[in-house]
Symmetry: D2
């Protein structure tokens, strides 16, 4: 039976990487939702991330986006900006979907010059990662097709394998490559890296330091995500997470807002693995959400708080009792071991953990009282576009 020390030790180990783009204005194809305090520059984003880290204490790393954060930014300046705020730059995220040249694909484009351009961008991202001291290259590809017949599935697959191998070969030994999968959007007939099986095949083709990135929102309705996570763990192919929640598609809502029991079960698979193997999994826990309606920093703090709470619950599962119920074929008792841990109110424990670390016990309240949002709005509003764009 786990005790408070187990929970605290688990919370101590948890590091959640924040996405720089989670502080910027986002939306849907019908338009962006503009917030006065939304970040515009990398500096803004680091300011916001520092605020999240200030009240949560577990978010020292910020994922960066090559295109959105490093047009005009020098790697050295960026690193320095992060350090000055007590942060480090984390995973490097190339962008192979925004330029119009990629409308029919990036590394899977029929046009060899565009494939080359895409690979060069990936190689530059490796260099950028090296320059900022990042050890993770995080790859999401929008490649796919919208209509039957449009693309040659197997040829595109070969191009993917070859591109990933080339990029893998160029990575320093300290760098890992994460391959993300997604069933659809922005492509609506087929997506080249559509599911975990394809991501794992591509990662294997790339090389030994390539693993699979599980974005919790990138699954068809009905898919059992924790089972996939366990399978990848056993294959040695799980590399990291993009956490978020969803009701329908890749809704990018805040973690646990729709189905908190699911995220609890996912985290429990990791806890169980670490308990059994007595090792800490070399896995990156990252957030990837679209804060369309919630204030950006607040949404991020709420998310971190939820992940901590769900991890605390997962750490409370009585694994021995669970295992003995499983061995006895006692379905009700096995399930109750999970349900009981989930039913536990871990807010007092989290409060105590925060007190011990000198953190605010009410992170959102502390943030609201800090004046951060008002200050951000004051300095950013003047720099913003006046429109969120239009659908057509």
């Amino acid at each position: 039976m786990p005790d408070l020390d187990d929970v605290f030790a688990g919370l101590d180990r948890l590091r959640i990487e924040l996405p720089s783009w989670g502080f910027a204005d986002t939306g849907t194809r019908f338009g962006k939702y503009l917030q006065d305090a939304a970040a515009i520059t990398l500096e803004d984003k680091l300011d916001d991330a520092a605020e999240v880290h200030r009240v949560t204490g577990c978010c020292p790393r910020v994922a960066v986006h090559v295109l959105w954060d490093f047009e005009g930014e020098e790697a050295g300046d960026a690193t320095q900006m992060a350090t000055a705020r007590g942060l480090r730059l984390g995973s490097v995220n190339p962008n192979l979907f925004q330029h119009q040249c990629y409308r029919l694909g990036s590394v899977a484009n029929e046009d060899a010059s565009i494939r080359r351009r895409a690979i060069e961008h990936l190689l530059r991202s490796v260099e950028l990662g090296r320059a900022i001291g990042s050890d993770v290259l995080s790859l999401w590809f929008a490649d796919g097709t919208n209509y039957p017949g449009q693309g040659h599935f197997r040829r595109r697959k070969r191009w993917f394998e070859s591109a990933l191998r080339e990029v893998h070969d160029a990575m320093p030994a300290s760098m890992r490559m994460l391959v993300e999968y997604k069933p659809f959007e922005p492509a609506f007939y087929h997506t080249d890296v559509a599911d975990w099986g394809m991501a794992a095949a591509f990662a294997r083709a790339a090389g030994p330091r390539a693993k699979v990135l599980v974005d919790t929102g990138h699954h068809l309705l009905g898919q059992n995500i924790e089972h996939i996570v366990a399978f990848l763990l056993d294959e040695g192919m799980l590399g990291g997470f993009h956490f978020n929640d969803r009701h329908y598609a890749d809704d990018d809502l805040t973690v646990g807002s729709i189905d908190p029991y699911r995220i609890f079960r996912i985290l429990f698979e990791l806890v169980q693995f670490e308990r059994e193997s007595d090792q800490v999994l070399p896995i990156d826990y990252m957030i990837d959400q679209s804060h369309n309606l919630k204030p950006k920093v607040e949404a991020m703090i709420q998310t971190v708080d939820t992940v901590q709470a769900m991890l605390a619950k997962a750490l409370l599962v009585d694994v021995e009792a669970l295992e003995s119920a499983r061995r006895a074929g006692d379905v009700v008792d096995a399930e109750r071991r999970l349900a009981d841990a989930f039913a536990t109110d871990v807010r007092p424990m989290l409060g105590e953990w925060r007190r011990r670390h000198g953190l605010p016990t009410d992170p959102i309240g502390d943030h609201r009282a800090s004046g951060h949002v008002e200050r951000a709005a004051a300095t950013r509003l003047g720099r913003k576009p006046s429109s969120g764009g239009s659908y057509a």
Copy 2:
């Protein structure tokens, strides 16, 4: 057993309304796909629609979007522009989602002043419709919430009912209101008009000239759309269609590109109803697609061609034989009546119908040879934005 005359008579009756926005650049939240020849102004769009009508002969009406087409356009000018191209302006589509004020809802916003503003926009749309001689007010609401707790479902429902009643009362007797439903996007937890049942309830609350608009892409995976269509027909509540196709969500692909048998079955429900009742259904057939990768005009011509082909197949179903198989409980034969009609190659019939109407027998080929796209690109390219925007 239907003959060629039945098919031709059915094709003669078919009028498909084109959406002005289908000729403009569109995309996903990850960015717009820019095409050199995409339309920018209402005049561009009418030029494109005229080209579609020129080669198909069945698209004399163009749906307009209040915000995108009438900022700065006078109703009179617009009508004149349409007439000059042999077209008429069709359904009027208000926009209650683009302005930032609507981020938490339009007619279902908690803020009474925003609800009022939304209703005023609807009333202005009625006036615009009157001014351009339109008889259809086509309503799609993006209203919804992203998180549990965010909204009070029943209170929002009441606001919807009251707004629609007020607008219905303001419509001239010749105008019909169509209420569209959609399960999700851009709202990701709940959408106020989420399914046909809600749309029908709101239409009934609005008044006798309010009916339901079925967008074929606005259904959860698995929903049997033709059954819904038949149910609405029997309730006297079917008002019109937004045609498109999809594989996953509201993908807005061109009609029949993913599941042509589905659109055939939907059209057959209408054919069967008209055969039985010996009446022509007062239903609006409209296209609503997002031509992200396909050239706009070409995609529209292909779509019209597909709808015509699927209608021709539906008209070929031997309804008497079908009914007798149904009565006999012969499942295989009943199904084969549909399958046989669907298996028929109607391209020669369509060709003959076009010849008789002096239309090009190969509409896409004729369009490609016409130089329309090249001319459009030449005059439009200079007026375009240079970027498709960014996700964050």
Copy 3:
């Protein structure tokens, strides 16, 4: 801010009706799972229900199934058997799917004599309800088709309307009719009562005492059930629930086992309505699950415990604070009002409530210690079939 008294008052009002068939052996098309202690006769089922009621104190009513419970049983005997166990017979469930004559439909069959037979069965069920003092006729229809073309949707709809009207007219004034919907299974192309909109239309056509029954497992993936519940509430058309949980389709798992937050949100819609209207909703709360692997009685006790816990959490929502966050457009705070109530550990409250009512504080433990299962197995095993059947 609700207090313990509010929670206890809510728990005091909660009555959950148990399904007699939930104690019998069930399975999938691949075979039944046989349990030694599963009930065979109505008497067995009442014994089991009494055991559930003994340890939970809130399940005095048992839903009965006309075909499975009343072949050979006299209404009077059954009532007496129930009374002797401190129970009452509840909703009456006709069966219009088991006989081979219904393979192509019951009240929607093309054969008039089968439609008549189906209606007669419904009328007999009304009489049975009258005889056993039941006030609810609970209707689930398996009617549908497996193949396009097989059925005439609108004709079948008319037959449904007429059958339900006839049955409604025959019901005593004290009896209510509940119309259940389901998207698919056992029909796999279309189901005549496929969604809440169809069920509501049929209920309205039947008469004023017909309402909609929401089975939580009878929805397509992605449907927002609590929104439907709220919509039906506002329309005055919500009649009752069949509770269960699911991951994929109509899996009939125990309540809250997959998504406990969902059932909490559904119950909160009811709590919120009752708070606002200061009335107790005339709604039937029933269980409908398939206990394939869990011991029957244990699964039922676990389910009742879960519904109580989720109701307690729903009763703890601070509705005033929620409303004020909604009015202020504070999405995070509105959501947190739900999330906070859900995060509360209500097990101590439930324990106290049970103590006050002289009930065992650990219902499953008490049941396990009671020897009920062993006794049941001893008397039932000899009466059981030796095989669970086969798929083909």
Copy 4:
């Protein structure tokens, strides 16, 4: 541009294996649908298969089910029965789900003795395959869990790997193992072989002669099956198909009845691969359907006819023109290459192919006129159970 000879050559190569169980009574958990002429014994099934082969000419092989076909049958007798009817016995299908001992799993059961029993059954199936001259062991596992916590995903995975390796080692060199996947049913929380990625991992763990079996109905809604097929082809891991169609879940409807364009696209992936590689794929084409409402033999003939028609259409795709449109980035033209082939009415070609092979040009009509069903009913009816069972 393919011509008639290409189509005929493709049809000549097509061999479709019939499932013995497709001729027996099947149903849903709510009961079996009984048909007078449904097969009961293996001999009945071979009689029915022979009838299908008689009118289609392309179904010489019959898949057998170890439990349902070989209880009491000697391998030698069965082979002789098949030969006498001009048939051969095909893939061998073990059954690890019907016995009650497997309720918590077969090769993934926590109980070592049940795992052993399951493996022994698999080994006996290998022996049976050897005895009847079969070269395919076709494995579908129902193993899974119904509730969170019930099973240990990774431990179960290891048991699967070890069991499959043992069985693979025992197979003669001429035998191949096919591993089938399925997302759910009869397990409703997790299924051990849930998707193609898991099946491929298990097949690789088993050995070089293990491949993946794609059942077209075993996918979540939205999954792009032809993409999976192409991916498996490129990995060298595609072993065979179970064809059927579905609207919702694993509905087991007849091929092409719901979405004929899908099956066309799947077959086109195979055609394209064979054209490019100039080889005939060593793939097994099998039917696996549940003929609940359609007469068994008729449903099977209709299915074979549909597969032939869809293959003929796939063979008609102008691959050169398709490739050149793809290379040019012409999305519309690439799609039209598929759509045009699909729009072609291949019924005359199929008729001609049948004439050349001395087969009836109207297979269903010929079958109906043959008196087969009446004879079958006359001899089988007396041997049938009188009830289709009950749900509870």
